[in-house]
């Protein structure tokens, strides 16, 4: 059974890697978007899902990655060589935020992350080395879609694999313990702050990598696009929609979200009711299945199991 599941994941991976051979550019663009969404959702899930620390400030890390890449590229560095530096800077900044903020719990932590993200956005649009509110453009002639596609897809595959690995590792179990009951975890000798910081840094670095690749593909960044609060909100939305704390949940959420976002907007007939559909769907999901699509799946599975009269336990998704 495990082999079947693994082969399914592998088949998906091979499909997206081989896609440029037989799919047209438009579809590849969609897949690029999907991969980007999967990375953001899965990375957020490392801290928000596994450890239960809901941050609404992830646009900061995306922005750090994107700005590092563009600023260095403008000074003649090859864009792809800037990726590690962006990731390191983001991880470092995650410590700066995390050290004080992880003393806070629940909503207080969430609000603190909003505050940091907004302060960074305002600063980025006011100081001059970031180009201020006008943003920055990548130097001309640095665009190769196939390369961008592969790097984003490969990163997405690696991140999902990493998430699956962490979920099963001792690290993942410690995060789960923190999520379950932080005091109990502490009592059992889990240094919660250290684990939270590690998860935060890891996810920040991954999001920064995605941000760098985003900048390379879009070629134009501005505080209003990469440091936007709406972006932070979407990053949280995807794992929640799919099923928080699981491996497949964020992936499903990303699929739904990235499809909805652009496909809905690109149908002129739906143009005037885009927010209705989007908001309404959000309300319905939150109201009836707070565990997201994974929750729906579990219900269906339970339904199927009872319909066939078998007496299997409802398996844990992930």
């Amino acid at each position: 059974m495990k082999a079947f599941k693994a082969s399914l994941w592998a088949a998906s991976a091979i499909f997206v890697l081989a896609a440029p051979r037989f799919l047209d550019r438009g579809t590849l663009n969609d897949l690029w978007n999907l991969a980007f969404a999967v990375i953001l959702a899965s990375a957020w899930n490392l801290l928000g899902g596994f450890a239960g620390q809901v941050s609404l400030g992830y646009s900061v890390f995306l922005g750090i990655g994107a700005y590092t890449t563009v600023l260095l590229s403008l000074r003649g560095v090859d864009p792809f060589l800037t990726l590690p530096l962006g990731a390191i800077l983001a991880a470092a900044f995650s410590f700066v935020i995390g050290l004080p903020a992880f003393r806070l719990r629940g909503p207080y932590f969430t609000i603190a992350t909003i505050g940091v993200a907004e302060a960074v956005r305002v600063c980025a649009s006011s100081v001059s080395f970031t180009g201020g509110s006008s943003g920055l453009r990548m130097p001309a002639g640095s665009f190769d879609f196939n390369l961008n596609y592969f790097s984003m897809v490969v990163l997405a595959i690696l991140v999902v694999a990493l998430a699956a690995y962490i979920k099963r590792s001792a690290f993942g179990r410690a995060l789960a313990a923190i999520k379950q009951d932080i005091d109990a975890a502490e009592a059992l000798g889990v240094n919660s702050t250290r684990f939270k910081l590690a998860a935060h840094a890891l996810s920040a670095a991954v999001v920064a990598l995605a941000g760098s690749l985003y900048a390379i593909n879009f070629q134009y960044i501005a505080p209003g696009s990469v440091f936007d609060f709406r972006l932070s909100l979407s990053i949280v939305l995807m794992p929640i929609l799919g099923g928080v704390g699981t491996v497949i949940g964020p992936v499903l959420g990303a699929i739904i979200f990235s499809t909805l976002q652009i496909k809905l907007l690109s149908i002129p007939a739906l143009r005037d009711s885009f927010l209705f559909i989007y908001g309404g769907l959000l309300i319905l999901v939150m109201l009836y299945e707070p565990h997201g699509l994974v929750g729906v799946g579990r219900r269906l599975a339970a339904l199927a199991a009872s319909a066939f009269g078998t007496n299997r336990r409802i398996p844990d998704a992930g």
Partner: protein
């Protein structure tokens, strides 16, 4: 086998299929024109106006049977999308229109940041792109596929300074004059600041800047900023702002009893929404813009009548610019006589639109793809009147300076 895997298999299969593409079939019986505008979100006010004017221009052409291409009339199929004022989505939607809906040309959005994001896309696919809503010079000259009908915002500021300088020469205003310069923290604001600064540097005897500040969009309280203005004791008040900020700021300005010899909010001032919100406090504010319905050309009068008949309102500069952008693109398509991207692009580059409603009466694009037309300056007069005061050749009334106390 776990039961849960069945749905997982299904879902994974579904996602592979969803992305196997809903793509438009290429049939060239129609001209497909894409447009991406901020119809919702923070640019919705002017984005909505651009939508209305774009749709009117397309409707007119279709009502007349379409555009003449290769000897036969072809209807225009407008695919107008909303980017929700989000730069990333804006670029993605332009890409979608080009790649999946296979449009022949793209009409760009409104707002420098959004158009900046869009303008990197056309180069990749070699599709002509024309925007009527971004006057930031940094957008143009990077790609041969990108055109714009809004003249640079620096020139807008420069026109205002020319106008003020002329008032000094007429001895209506007494040099030296101290300027309090405020600007919104956007590219538009930055270009405005640059234009004013450059002029001031070139005319140090007449002008100096005593305050140079920027503010965030949609600030709830302008009092701290205006207290700085009060303390700076400038003679002229020059501010570049969005409509909402202009209204909120000028209310506080009036309540605080501030006075300057001349007051401008950049392109704002003549807007009906502004006059409705501020009443008599807008009197004598001068504004420069890309267009005014007071321009004394016959084609402008015809456009005013057409717009009034279609919507019941008087046209504003953004309606005219959006309308003219579509017209420029259509003229280029007819000149090209072909739907080949290269042909349309070259026709745009060579375009000389002789009966343009924009100032100067002739629309053409510079080497960078940007139109550089003269600006108009209007001044609000009491009882809701509005006069065109610049360029002198087209003026409908004398400028009043300084503002009577």
């Amino acid at each position: 086998m776990h039961a849960s895997h069945s749905w997982r298999v299904t879902l994974q299969a579904v996602f592979l299929f969803v992305f196997a593409g809903i793509s438009a079939r290429a049939q060239d019986s129609e001209i497909r024109i894409g447009a991406v505008l901020p119809i919702t979100g923070k640019e919705s006010k002017i984005g909505g106006a651009y939508k209305a004017a774009t749709e009117l221009a397309v409707k007119e052409v279709n009502d007349a049977g379409g555009l003449l291409v290769r000897g036969k009339k072809m209807k225009v199929d407008l695919r107008l999308l909303d980017d929700t004022s989000d730069a990333a989505k804006s670029a993605q939607l332009v890409e979608q229109l080009i790649v999946q809906q296979k449009v022949h040309a793209v009409i760009g959005g409104y707002g420098s940041q959004l158009v900046q994001a869009q303008s990197v896309v056309p180069e990749r696919y070699g599709i002509p792109f024309i925007s009527g809503g971004a006057g930031a010079s940094s957008i143009y000259g990077r790609s041969k596929w990108v055109f714009g009908t809004l003249s640079p915002v620096e020139n807008l500021a420069e026109t205002q300074m020319d106008f003020l300088f002329d008032l000094v020469k007429q001895r209506k205003l007494k040099a030296p004059l101290k300027i309090s310069l405020l600007r919104e923290n956007t590219e538009h604001g930055k270009d405005f600041q640059k234009g004013v600064r450059e002029f001031v540097n070139a005319h140090p005897k007449q002008f100096s800047i005593v305050l140079d500040e920027s503010f965030e969009l949609y600030a709830p309280d302008f009092r701290p900023l205006l207290m700085r203005v009060e303390a700076a004791k400038g003679d002229l008040f020059m501010c570049d702002a969005h409509l909402e900020d202009y209204i909120a700021m000028h209310r506080t300005y009036t309540q605080m009893g501030l006075y300057h010899q001349m007051v401008t909010y950049g392109a704002r001032g003549a807007d009906e929404a502004g006059r409705k919100a501020l009443g008599a406090a807008t009197d004598y504010i001068f504004a420069s813009g890309w267009w005014s319905d007071l321009l004394p050309y016959p084609q402008v009068k015809a456009f005013n009548a057409k717009w009034k008949a279609a919507t019941g309102n008087n046209p504003q500069w953004y309606h005219a610019c959006a309308y003219e952008t579509v017209r420029a693109l259509f003229a280029a398509i007819q000149n090209a006589g072909s739907l080949q991207p290269d042909a349309i692009r070259n026709a745009l580059a060579r375009l000389v639109l002789k009966d343009s409603i924009l100032p100067g009466g002739v629309l053409r694009f510079s080497k960078t793809g940007e139109a550089t037309l003269p600006f108009v300056v209007t001044q609000n007069k009491p009882a809701g009147k509005l006069d065109l005061v610049w360029p002198k050749a087209a003026k409908t009334g004398e400028p009043v300076a300084p503002i009577p106390r």
